[in-house]
């Protein structure tokens, strides 16, 4: 089972770009993303709070993470 690390401190430039990317996410995607990443909520908890299916929560996280990943270099 793959376990991602909790968090790392990005360098300043990446941090600014990431923050802009997160801020520019469509509202419903951004809400789910920040509840997951910064609110520490599980996908099930987010689904309950937002009246969404877990699948829908996952789809929104997938889209948000795809956009964040696009900023990362090899």
């Amino acid at each position: 089972m793959y376990e991602p690390a909790a968090a790392v401190l990005p360098d300043a430039e990446v941090a600014v770009l990431l923050e802009q990317t997160i801020a520019a996410l469509p509202g419903p995607i951004r809400d789910v993303f920040v509840l997951s990443r910064f609110g520490g909520l599980s996908n099930v908890e987010i689904a309950q709070r937002c009246n969404l299916s877990v699948k829908r929560v996952e789809a929104r996280l997938t889209e948000a993470r795809r956009r964040c990943a696009a900023l990362m270099q090899d």
Partner: protein, 324 residues
């Protein structure tokens, strides 16, 4: 997994699957096959890096504001896994006198029973915004009960560790209760850790008063810490506030901590425990450095290269480390 999706989307979909809980063996095989392509592996690594880097932004004001807005917009629901504030008694204003009184009585009743509980599992963290605007960040394996009353905002720390950023309200003190120890605050930032034996209080900003089980009171100034239990409170000592605050960003900071204590700290965040089988000369070696909470492998790699330890056995539940 959608075959037609582009690589970046596929990578993000796989990340969601792999971090989403139970995975069927067939799915795991499919993931491994997909990742055998180096371009796919690199795309997956970028998703992971993006997610981890985003985690480091938690304390940035704009991010914290977005998080608070979302938490307030979607409050926890009663009866859901994590209990939240009751909404049952939030009613539109009613003109009739009698009805208002009945509603008011109901509201008081609800207020008395208003005790949301928030908890985390081993390795988990969460941020909650309380009804008064105060923020509580729960660390690994932690449980708090929120018990707001008329004259007092009370939070009970049943176990674990929490960092409090208290909204100022001079008329209603904010009190954290842990194992008979009371920490009283007015608009301030502080950390309380209840490990079952003693309660450790560290003040980052503002002013708090700590009262042990014997009723003795000690006031802290920023940068000080005390240890307290049912018998009393220690004298304040100088605290490493950056180390205390670092867990709130998912990092563990050690500055000159004995290896055995660093191992205990790392183990708090992981179900997979490090077991140190080393003589005191090694276990007492002082560790300095920063680690990502929950990343046991990273810590073990560091311990191996720095202290000449080797892994003698490894199971999903534990990693044994002995002198090489």
């Amino acid at each position: 997994m959608s075959e037609s999706a582009d690589r970046g989307t596929q990578a993000s979909q796989w990340f969601t699957v792999m971090t989403g809980g139970d995975i069927a063996p067939k799915e795991l095989d499919a993931f491994r096959a997909w990742r055998r392509d180096p371009a796919n592996a690199a795309a997956f690594e970028r998703v992971k890096q993006g997610w981890e880097a985003a985690g480091g932004l938690a304390e940035r004001p704009a991010i914290a504001a977005m998080t608070e807005t979302a938490l307030a917009k979607y409050p926890a629901k009663v009866g859901a896994g994590q209990a939240g504030p009751s909404r049952r008694f939030v009613l539109a204003p009613i003109g009739l006198g009698l009805a208002s009184i009945l509603v008011a009585a109901g509201a008081v009743f609800a207020w008395r029973n208003y005790e949301p509980t928030y908890s985390t599992q081993v390795g988990g963290q969460r941020l909650e915004v309380l009804a008064d605007g105060s923020r509580v960040r729960l660390n690994t394996d932690t449980r708090v009960r929120v018990d707001f009353r008329d004259g007092e905002r009370r939070v009970v720390l049943d176990r674990g560790q929490a960092f409090f950023d208290v909204a100022h309200d001079a008329s209603r003190p904010f009190v954290v209760v842990a194992d008979g120890v009371r920490v009283r605050a007015l608009g301030t930032r502080f950390d309380v850790r209840n490990d079952g034996a003693v309660v450790r209080v560290t003040l980052v900003q503002g002013r708090v008063e700590v009262r042990g089980g014997d009723g003795e009171r000690t006031e802290l100034t920023p940068g000080q810490a005390v240890i307290a239990d049912r018998r009393g409170v220690s004298r304040p000592s100088v605290a490493n506030t950056s180390a205390v605050a670092s867990w709130t960003t998912g990092r563990l900071t050690f500055s000159g901590v004995p290896l055995r204590e660093a191992v205990a700290e790392v183990n708090r965040y992981s179900d997979r425990k490090v077991v140190l089988e080393a003589p005191e000369a090694v276990a007492g070696e002082l560790v300095s450095g920063q680690f990502v909470a929950g990343d046991v492998d990273n810590f073990v790699a560091g311990a191996r290269s720095l202290y000449g330890l080797r892994v003698t056995s490894e199971t999903p539940r534990e990693i044994r480390l002995s002198p090489g």
